[in-house]
Amino acid sequence: MEIVRSQRKPADAAVVPALSLYRSAPALEVRLEDFELYAIDRLRVLQGISDGLSRGKKPDEMEKLVSELWRAHMRLQDPSEEMNKDIISHFVLRLVYCRTEDLRKWFLSMETSLFRYRFRLESSESQRLLMSEFQLPYKAISHAEFETVKDKLNQVARSTGPSSNAETLFFKVPFEEVPELVAGRRVFMLKGFAYVAMNQIVSLVATQFRSNLSKALVLTNSRKWTSTVRDKEKNRLTPIVEALSTGYLGPDYSQPKEFSEISLKDIDQLASSSFPLCMRHLFDKLRENHHLKHGGRMQLGLFLKAVGLKLEDALAFWKSEFSQKVGAERFDKEYSYSIRHNYGKEGKRTDYTPYACHKIISSTPSVGDHHGCPYRHFRLVDLFNQKSDVLYFLVFIYYNSAMHTIHCESIRAAQKSIVHMLQIFCFSIIVVCNCHSLFNSEENLRAALGKMGVGGRSLDDILDKVRSRHYQVACTLTFEAVHAASCDSGINHPNQYFEASQKTLQTTVS
């Protein structure tokens, strides 16, 4: 069976065996079950990447993850078979994920990540070959040009990290081509050009890959899916394609579940029992300040909507808080619109979906904002970079034992003295290690978790995960500590947290 007839001649005989650019669909015959199975296997890989990214894995961890996923799901005995599987599954998923903007977006970013990490695993020889296959119009800068900007290039290299064995091969490309390098200030910029070192070329190639795929996906939708496949293959491929995209997208929280309608009077109780930390923090801040900035209103508002707060109740809820600060009239004028908007009653009239963890973690709260992921935004990053872990470990032990004693002690005076003593003790160690500020920022999180009733061993575990930037894992552990129940699936969505919490509470009651 032939899935699709390529409109152009297939690409020249594969130059680089392992990694395809998927320029054109292969003229291959595929058995119907392979059509589906290959796609499912690839989907497992993409899903794994998506999980890894949302857990905030670092590039080298991702590299490892991708090669493991690939080995587990895509590896075949025969390299040419594997290549075929790679290409076929890619093109099947293109059909599956070309059909709406959301599907395209997800597929695009997962495929690009997959490509990126597979590219990094290639030898530098085949990397160069791949680059030439993209036919990028960029040439390495001449020696003369290199000399003129050498100092700046060195400066950039040193600013990004201590490593970097003086790279001399640079490409001068329009900055638009390497957004991620620009965003991280990892390239030298001059008059609209970014100087990309050979070891950064993966960004350039990945961008190119992404933009090709992005254009191709739109074409796939208009030329293939809507015009031919959907109708002609109504009884054969269409059901497979449609099933593939829905089965794996994870639960949809855009519509509140019927059973979970909540009323205004329960909301405080629910907040303390079942809200994840990010929402609880927003909720508490709202109660405290009677105000939240836009980011916080969106994050909390959409969450509450999905939890089952009806529009009228939501308006009443926000009004009761905001009117204490800005007055009822100003609330009606300025804020009620956006709440109605969230519920799809204004403007574009789309029913907005609540934010998932990934979105919350990657948000960028600024001054006076309370939204974002507390596990990520409460603390300092990058402090561990220069210090030795051993010293930290020691300090933590002292610090924690101190905290522990405090909790156990019942007499105030004794407490005070112990606290005092230990504080001095800790302080001296802290001073030795130059790391007091770590505690300052971590204390906020510590206090917040304490308020949720998390302490002792599990608190340390959570903070440990936070330090290694596994924010969702930290949230999962928090869930487990608060509910004394396991959460195998991990927390990927605040509403998932809420529902899981409700479920656990109900089973323990009944």
Partner: protein, 520 residues
């Protein structure tokens, strides 16, 4: 009390009259000084060249509260009022602040409709075959009307449409959105036809810096207020961004605009900037991002690596360092009280150094009666401790830079810059709270910009009133203090921009773009 009119011919009020009330009006405005200002007019025909025929029309009668005998005795010709008296009248006739009536006049007489149109057309308003005549019509405008009524997705086919709509609706605020794939006003019609996706296709790269984001580092004002002590924070933000946008990103057509109250807006209008994707916009915004907020984040600026990126290094040595040490230290009294210097000491990761300095400064509060400014002295002490040979640790040497970046580096509203469909207030709007006009700022001369002397609506109308007697020139705004802003907009921004648009369209018509033949 005797009330006799002094007649002053006034050209400014015609639109007010014609558009709100039809023909025959008499409006009384009462103000604090309880002098009465009455506008009256003779009937006039609304028609061709309506506001050109000013001379025929309305009169503004001033009824000063106290009149001398001579003045009451006869209706005087306006030309007879001497200059000093005019000065006086200027202060007292148009009540300060903001009102819909004034705004109507402003849009009728002063707002540079044609320039805004020419700007947002980007050369697509000519007869050249390469012009995209639908271009301007696909641009979204949003109006904020009286009582906060918000109207989105307005679009106009041409300059006349735009001007008429603005004058008729008299928006309190005009926002400019992106250029969409189809006319935004007809987006629903297109949605039904299927293939045409309604999506933004072009948008200036914009930046918004707001003084209220600096509340934790300024002590002179807070919230919506600004003064000349904190405004320089905006000035250096403009310098840092402007230099980077030009030198690093290679942009040339950059418009800086006072936001009317407490901040500045930046419009990068190069073709290349307008066609950036959201992802590329986010990348640029991140390139500029040093400051990381969040209430629970103690250290807002983290500079890692052994050296600074050239952009940060340049900003630091060229702008930030000099400003912090030369100006901000003293103007904000950053080390004057314990709360203030404690905040700075918190940034130092080494607790022993911080407490050493703390003790020192707490102790010798009285003893340092030297003539030198206490802020400067303490800052030098802090620098000395952190940068002395003893401190080998990278983190501590970097700390001086981190402090300066924390206190001075531009704090951008990231979301504004990241997405194409973010709206931004149009230049030359009037801020409803302050009445000040959102005038362009010259980035090369931004040190001299003073937000407290930006013309206000009432001041402009007053100037118009006064000058009305003297000359009858073509462009009304030339007679007001808005004139130099509009001239600056034209000469420094608009004409170079249109020149380059012309070049670009010539180039495009020559080069036939071969589209990537993409397989599905």
């Amino acid at each position: 009390m005797l009330w006799t009119p002094t007649r002053i011919v006034c050209n400014t009020l015609i639109n007010l009259k014609s558009e709100i009330f039809g023909c025959y009006v008499r409006i009384l405005v009462r103000r604090e000084h309880s002098s009465l200002v009455s506008l009256s007019s003779v009937p006039f025909k609304k028609g061709k060249g309506e506001h050109r025929n000013l001379r025929l029309l309305p009169t503004l009668r001033l009824y000063p509260r106290i009149m001398t005998k001579e003045e009451t005795s006869a209706e005087r010709d306006d030309m007879q009022i001497d200059g000093r008296e005019l000065e006086h009248l200027q202060v007292s006739t148009i009540p300060g602040g903001f009102s819909a009536d004034y705004l109507k006049l402003y849009y009728g007489k002063l707002f540079p409709h044609a320039d805004i149109y020419r700007w947002l057309s980007y050369g697509n308003d000519g007869k050249h075959p390469a012009c995209d005549h639908s271009y301007f019509g696909r641009r979204e405008f949003s109006f904020t009307l009286e009582n906060d009524i918000y109207v989105r997705f307005q679009s106009f086919n041409n300059a006349v449409d735009m001007e008429n709509s603005i004058r008729e609706k008299c928006p309190y605020k005009i926002d400019i959105g992106p250029v969409y794939s189809v006319d935004p006003a007809k987006r629903h019609a297109y949605a039904q036809s299927g293939n045409n996706v309604f999506a933004p296709v072009e948008r200036e790269l914009i930046f918004d810096i707001d003084m209220s984001d600096y509340d934790d580092v300024r002590y002179c004002c807070s919230g919506a207020d600004v003064c000349l002590n904190c405004w320089p924070l905006m000035t250096i933000s403009m310098k840092v961004l402007d230099t980077a946008l030009r030198d690093d990103f290679g942009f040339n057509h950059i418009l800086w605009v006072y936001s009317g109250r407490r901040g500045v807006h930046c419009w990068v209008c190069d073709g290349r900037a307008r066609r950036l994707s959201n992802e590329q916009r986010a990348a640029i915004a991140d390139y500029f991002r040093v400051y990381k907020g969040g209430e629970n984040n103690v250290k807002k600026v983290n500079l890692t690596g052994p050296v600074l990126h050239p952009f940060l290094a340049r900003s630091y040595t060229d702008v930030l360092k000099g400003f912090f040490e030369g100006k901000l230290l003293a103007s904000q009294n950053l080390f004057a009280t314990i709360e203030r210097f404690q905040k700075i000491l918190e940034i130092i990761p080494d607790e022993s150094i911080a407490s050493e300095l703390l003790d020192k400064w707490q102790g010798n509060r009285r003893s340092s009666i030297s003539k030198e400014d206490v802020n400067v002295v303490r800052w030098e002490q802090l620098k000395h401790v952190l940068q002395s040979g003893k401190q080998k640790a990278q983190g501590l040497r970097r700390c001086v830079e981190e402090i300066i970046f924390t206190y001075t580096y531009p704090r951008l509203d990231m979301e504004v810059s990241k997405h194409m469909n973010h709206l931004l207030k149009a230049p030359f709007c009037v801020h409803p709270k302050t009445g000040r006009v959102c005038v362009p700022i010259d980035p090369y001369n931004c040190d001299n910009f003073d937000p407290t002397t930006v013309p206000t609506l009432s001041q402009l109308l007053e100037e118009l009133n006064m000058s009305g007697m003297r000359s009858e020139s073509e462009d009304e705004w030339e007679r007001t203090s808005l004139g130099k802003s509009i001239k600056f907009f034209r000469s420094s921004f608009l004409s170079p921009l249109l020149k380059s648009c012309k070049m670009e369209s010539l180039y495009n018509s020559k080069v036939k773009q071969s589209k990537n033949a993409l397989n599905w």
